[in-house]
């Protein structure tokens, strides 16, 4: 075929220029692939962290802030706390210091929203075991700081949406519907290991013994509660009314619907804190976040600039090549070649260079992504605690008044919520997807097409008489 023969001969003749154009496009494309792979890797890493904070299958969580208590009554529940007495107090309460109550009717209303696949309620509680000095006195040397234990009331039943959705069962069994009113507990494996507990052991929650029926692990990155008990038992022990929860777990019908459902819930419950992957992502900090920002801002701009530079170089070199070949094109016109036919020849040449650039770009991209994966420092994400509440348990205790607000309010804040944020190591890799390769090839060919079109446009403007008279 004459077209290909001519194309091959021209490229061979102008090998150096062809290499420069292909290398320019290849470099730009390689950067795009590398940056895309980095972004993809960072997104995957973020997804892992967010997924672990969230739980697989949960798209949105809804909480409401606890109302400030005028004084603690020692009975537990929402926002409660012990009141100073003229004698030493030993307290063991199950309370929800940071999250306010949500009625079951509100959970039901959420579950009826359009695009909501499922919604269920849970109770995120803190068991506080403390010995309080008399009359707000400063703690003595023998003072024992309060012991705080995170306890979650989880919906029971196989496959129930809630805090155990993402958990992996290590031993024992899960909750069943028959456990709804039973004093049984599922432990987090970290807590169980630390306290040498196993299936069949007994743990005490709000002075009630619970038999351990299962041990679970939550995904890396989460800050799981220590103990899960049936929701109804948690409601009873926290002295809450029937059906009261403080966390609603929502699964959207599709990923695309998450934002819309979040807005609907916010409209329905104006005082609620509605958290989805977008809002949660903002709470993630650390080198993962920095890398994410680098990849999405600096990296993207770098890739765009490199691409634009490659396109510009390819276009300018093509225009220069056309200028050098004016007499040749004039001769072809004299032979009866249409301008469009000559333009196609020029565009064909740049497309061939684009294909070479794409191949080179994919190779550069793979190498770049591989080097980035190998050389990348270990990433970490700083994430908030399990329930993602602001202020943490201690702060709320202090705010609740009473003894924690006075002499030891500050220290308790620090102690009570040591994991308000925690650092999670995040494994990072920069995967190259088929989509990225297709995008790169399309960009390279697009760039070549742009460059070729400039050349072709110049050819169509060429008047044969002037072209033949040129010195070229």
């Amino acid at each position: 075929m004459f077209f290909l023969t001519y194309l091959r001969r021209e490229l061979r003749q102008r090998m150096r220029q062809a290499i420069v154009i292909a290398a320019g496009l290849g470099l730009g494309i390689g950067l795009v692939i590398t940056v895309t792979a980095l972004s993809s890797g960072v997104r995957t890493a973020e997804g892992k962290v967010l997924g672990s904070l969230y739980g697989v299958g949960t798209d949105i969580t809804v909480t409401t802030p606890a109302k400030p208590a005028s004084g603690a009554n020692g009975s537990g529940g929402f926002g409660g706390g012990p009141t100073p007495k003229p004698y030493v107090q030993h307290t063991d309460i199950l309370t929800s210091p940071t999250q306010g109550p949500i009625a079951s009717s509100e959970v039901a209303a959420i579950s009826r929203l359009h695009d909501v696949a499922a919604a269920s309620g849970g109770l995120t509680l803190t068991e506080i075991k403390a010995t309080l000095p008399a009359d707000n006195q400063p703690p003595t040397g023998a003072f024992q700081p309060p012991v705080l234990l995170s306890v979650v009331g989880a919906p029971v039943g196989r496959g129930a949406l809630g805090p155990l959705t993402a958990a992996h069962r290590k031993s024992g069994r899960e909750f069943t519907a028959a456990d709804a009113s039973a004093d049984v507990a599922v432990l987090d494996s970290g807590y169980a290991t630390a306290h040498h507990l196993a299936v069949g052991s007994v743990v005490t929650v709000a002075r009630r013994p619970f038999t351990v029926i299962g041990i679970v692990t939550q995904p890396q990155g989460s800050s799981p509660p220590s103990i899960y008990i049936p929701l109804a038992r948690a409601q009873a022990l926290a002295n809450l009314g029937a059906g009261k929860v403080n966390t609603v777990y929502v699964e959207a019908a599709s990923a695309a619907a998450v934002g819309k459902v979040s807005r609907e819930i916010s409209r329905q419950m104006p005082s609620a804190t509605v958290t989805n992957s977008g809002t949660l992502a903002k709470s993630v900090a650390g080198s993962l976040k920095t890398t994410s920002k680098l990849a999405t801002t600096f990296g993207t701009w770098l890739a765009v600039l490199a691409l634009l530079a490659a396109f510009a170089v390819a276009s300018l070199l093509t225009l220069a090549a056309v200028a050098r070949r004016i007499r040749e094109f004039g001769t072809l016109k004299a032979l009866g070649w249409r301008s469009s036919r000559i333009s196609i020849q020029v565009i064909g040449e740049t497309i061939a260079m684009g294909i070479a650039g794409a191949a080179l770009g994919v190779a550069i991209g793979f190498t770049g992504a591989l080097l980035a994966s190998k050389a990348a420092p270990s990433l970490t994400a700083t994430v908030q605690t399990y329930n993602a509440s602001k202020g943490g348990v201690g702060g709320q205790l202090g705010r609740a008044g009473g003894i924690f607000n006075g002499t030891i309010g500050g220290p308790v804040t620090t102690f009570a919520n040591p994991n308000a944020t925690h650092v999670v190591p995040v494994p990072f890799s920069a995967p190259i997807t088929g989509g990225a390769i297709v995008l790169a090839v399309a960009l390279s060919l697009g760039g070549a097409l742009v460059a070729g079109s400039f050349g072709g446009w110049q050819v169509t403007r060429l008047r044969p008489a002037e072209a033949l008279a040129s010195a070229g």
Binding site: F2, Y6, Q13, R327, L335, G336, R338
Partner: protein, 249 residues
């Protein structure tokens, strides 16, 4: 030139035996072409009137910059006159669209240039083949025509050579083969021997003359060389854009 040819020219008959009363290949009427050079207007062609019968060999002479090449470009449809008509056969090139003129060039007009204008990256055969591309000739037919064309200029054995591997005379032969492979009605040659030594010049002119006679071509040849011009049936002189026939000088 043979005695028969000399005799024919003297009688006003084309040496290839075509009838001088035959239909005109070209009829130019009042053709004017100007260029702007700064504030000056240069008349490349000034009210040129010319009829070229089918099968005639017309030589055009004149000093550099007096409009010879412009005349040739207007005849080939490579340039448009500012005014006047350039009737080729029965079609006025000055009134046709670019695509129509391009089609006429592809089918009916062959060009030969002083600098050969071969595509440097293509072989001799591929350069000749390039002239057949606009005609949509099949690949097999193209190969056949190219072989015949190169054979007719004595370069069948150089088909695969690049222009840089050929002498000037050989390159001009390739250019002649390229111009004639599509069997045009008209051959327009712009100083075809200008870059050649005397022996090669005679070879090329001899070849052109043979082809002109054998194929009954209309040949318009621009040349500085009076010895070349004398071999044509008629000689026209371009002076400051005006055309005068030599026998009227």
């Amino acid at each position: 030139m043979s005695n028969e040819t000399t005799s024919a020219v003297q009688n006003g008959l084309p040496p290839n035996g075509s009838d001088p009363q035959a239909s005109a290949a070209y009829t130019l009427t009042g053709v004017t072409k100007t260029y702007q050079k700064g504030r000056r207007t240069i008349f490349a062609l000034r009210d040129v009137n010319l009829t070229i019968p089918e099968g005639e060999w017309l030589a055009v002479q004149g000093r550099t910059g007096h409009g010879k090449t412009t005349l040739l470009q207007v005849l080939g449809g490579l340039d448009q006159p500012d005014s006047g008509s350039v009737v080729f056969g029965d079609r006025d090139l000055s009134q046709l669209r670019e695509t129509q003129v391009t089609k006429i060039r592809a089918t009916s007009i062959g060009f030969i240039f002083q600098t050969f204008n071969l595509v440097a990256t293509l072989s001799a055969a591929e350069n000749v083949e390039a002239a057949l591309i606009p005609l949509g000739v099949t690949s097999a037919k193209r190969r056949q025509l190219v072989t015949a064309a190169l054979d007719s200029v004595g370069l069948a054995d150089r088909a695969r050579h690049l222009p840089s591997e050929l002498s000037g005379g050989q390159q001009q032969r390739v250019a002649i083969a390229r111009a004639l492979v599509k069997e045009p009605r008209v051959l327009l040659a712009d100083e075809p021997t200008g870059n050649l030594d005397q022996d090669t010049r005679d070879d090329i002119i001899g070849l052109l003359e043979k082809l002109w006679r054998d194929r009954q071509l209309t040949l318009v040849l621009v040349t500085h060389d009076s010895s070349v011009a004398r071999r044509a049936q008629r000689v026209a002189i371009m002076i400051k854009g005006q055309l005068k026939m030599a026998d009227r000088l």
